[in-house]
Symmetry: C2
Subunit: 412 residues, 2 copies
Amino acid sequence: MSERPDAGSALHLRHETWGDHEALLARTRSGSGGRVGVVETQRRPIADAGQPFHFEHGGQLDTVEVAYQTYGELDARGRNAILICHALTGSAHAAGVHNEGDVPGWWDPLIGPGKPIDTNRYFVLSTNVLGGCYGSTGPGSLNPKTNQPYGPDFPRFTIRDMVNAQKRLAESLGITSFASVVGGSMGGMQVLEWAAAYPEWVRSMVPIATTPRHSAWAIGLNDVARRAIVSDAAWKDGRYAPDAQPETGLGLARAIAMLSYRSFDSLESKFGRERVVQPRADWGDAPKPGVLGSMLSVAFEIQSYLAYQGVQLTKRFDANTYLYLTRAMDDFDLADGRGRLRDVLASMAMPALVIGIDSDVLYPESESKTLAESLPNSTYHVLRSPHGHDAFLIEFPQIAARLRRFLNDLES
Amino acid sequence: MSERPDAGSALHLRHETWGDHEALLARTRSGSGGRVGVVETQRRPIADAGQPFHFEHGGQLDTVEVAYQTYGELDARGRNAILICHALTGSAHAAGVHNEGDVPGWWDPLIGPGKPIDTNRYFVLSTNVLGGCYGSTGPGSLNPKTNQPYGPDFPRFTIRDMVNAQKRLAESLGITSFASVVGGSMGGMQVLEWAAAYPEWVRSMVPIATTPRHSAWAIGLNDVARRAIVSDAAWKDGRYAPDAQPETGLGLARAIAMLSYRSFDSLESKFGRERVVQPRADWGDAPKPGVLGSMLSVAFEIQSYLAYQGVQLTKRFDANTYLYLTRAMDDFDLADGRGRLRDVLASMAMPALVIGIDSDVLYPESESKTLAESLPNSTYHVLRSPHGHDAFLIEFPQIAARLRRFLNDLES
């Protein structure tokens, strides 16, 4: 996939490929149904001086844009829309290709004419979250008042803020409610927040491999990832130049996260103890001196894989944005300001398809099961996969079958 | 526990407490049986100019000492010894106290008069591994030729080298074989290596929460921990002064490791989303500027816990040693130079008690089960515990019952 750098983003995206190999392969199999074709990321202001965007934790901005893609046609009543919410390092580019021959968007096998999210029937909206670095206004964007990136001065934002920005965009597009709100991981948090905050807008929901409140375990993993970034001297308290990211720290943060997106079994079957035949100096630091230095070189394929994943992320993602987004995830607690979690969940009466993953290390299946049991009108489905958390970006046939049935049942 | 800094170690140990809270509490309950009492760590040369120590990957040293403790009396034939092998950041101080009132050694509830490893019957030997930083010669020791710490010039060493050093020490103490060789995690690797390399010395073995070859998953976790250390500018390619460790990097490495030593459930029940009431600036970095800076402060108890664990390790452990030891673990493959793993394991005919942990994230129970199934004369026991990998340092009553029965059956 190629995310084109846009004028407002301070980040140069220097590489065409992103994400994990399996996910990439899975996306190239388009699934049953037709193709969305060539798409373009659009951007739209959702605030101005007369209607600034207010952040949950304080602060406001007059200039906020949201990047988005749409597939299909909106009906006259504005009621046939489905909202797709992306995960931590995702973008609005869920389906189609930017140019012929590109690898398609991250959920392409599920979205298109005749596909489970059928663009002959639905108007599909996919946005880059508020605060993201794929076209929406965020820490990497230029502050119009200083002509410098916001960096660490960008207002703190939350999952609720992301949802409020999506709502402004949806209203401006003429959408009046969503047939479904769908997303995995951080996308699933947006799904749940939508359903709790604006139930009249959410006629059904599909939260996948997610949680209504971030666990100690998940907070801990984000904490060490953030520390990897801020420990990098190149981070410069967040005031690095756009072309001088803290690459070592961001790459390490990504490597830590990748382990939690995978599983013991998936890494063992893919890499085991395979050794690197040809070391790639560009995927690691310069060799260190001494006996120990030679021992620190990349020896095993798993090390090479983690290094590669890190390098790839530094080419496409902004370090400050990573800090803000992971903190928004850690802060996420659906019950905040709403009473007890079980009461909040019990009040969410729209049909819900909850999907868990049996090998998920980050959001264990038990969290998804408990979520499904706590929702009054839910169906639970488990993805059986060796791929861990990332299975929601890989196991398309399983997701397709369930999603198709769920959406069809809503119509009948 | 207090590990006294010794003259040869370049590392100052500035803090009395180490390890995890549960493990510490569990150790203070001494279990059934009498106490070992006050113990002292001793040191003994195992090489000299006439008989240098040769390392598996090349290199040799004339001056090598091993730190150790013993409990009980060796019998006339030198056959009543049990060897205790420690894990990554452990020491020879397995039982007893250094001073009255101290927290006892890391396996004290299992070792003593009348305890499962009964010092009325057995002569218990516990060593600090070759290359460790608790008294044995390692990267933190002074190189007698330069009067500087070896640092990154210390020879590369392996689990096999650790075992060979232990064997020299055991021979010098008059031991002729071990009634059992016992250890968890990296200690379990030593157990397996002992049994494969010197089966005539190992009359029985107890490998706990370990693996005969390090998995891609475990290598990956060690890889990111090492990268955290070498990314710290204070590491200085391994040539830091003894009182100027790369504390940020080593602390982060420890935090990453701690997550893998625990489990989703244990962290959730201990911390959940509890917030820090009184931030401890000394457990984290100085506050950062900007909106983002305030968001980077320690907000959740899990963050505070991970920061604390990191700070504690930097006070008692040497960063280069951490790099060497984790690489020795990653390199560990019992089959190296011995043929196929299943044949190697099938040839290890001594009675074995294999213990796995149902919540172990780092060495999943499946690894222990497979190990037990591959050994021809094994008993398998699973520790049922929420505590993850660290359960072998916490669940003493469960271990005690099984260990007592196993050792008694050997005698009868």
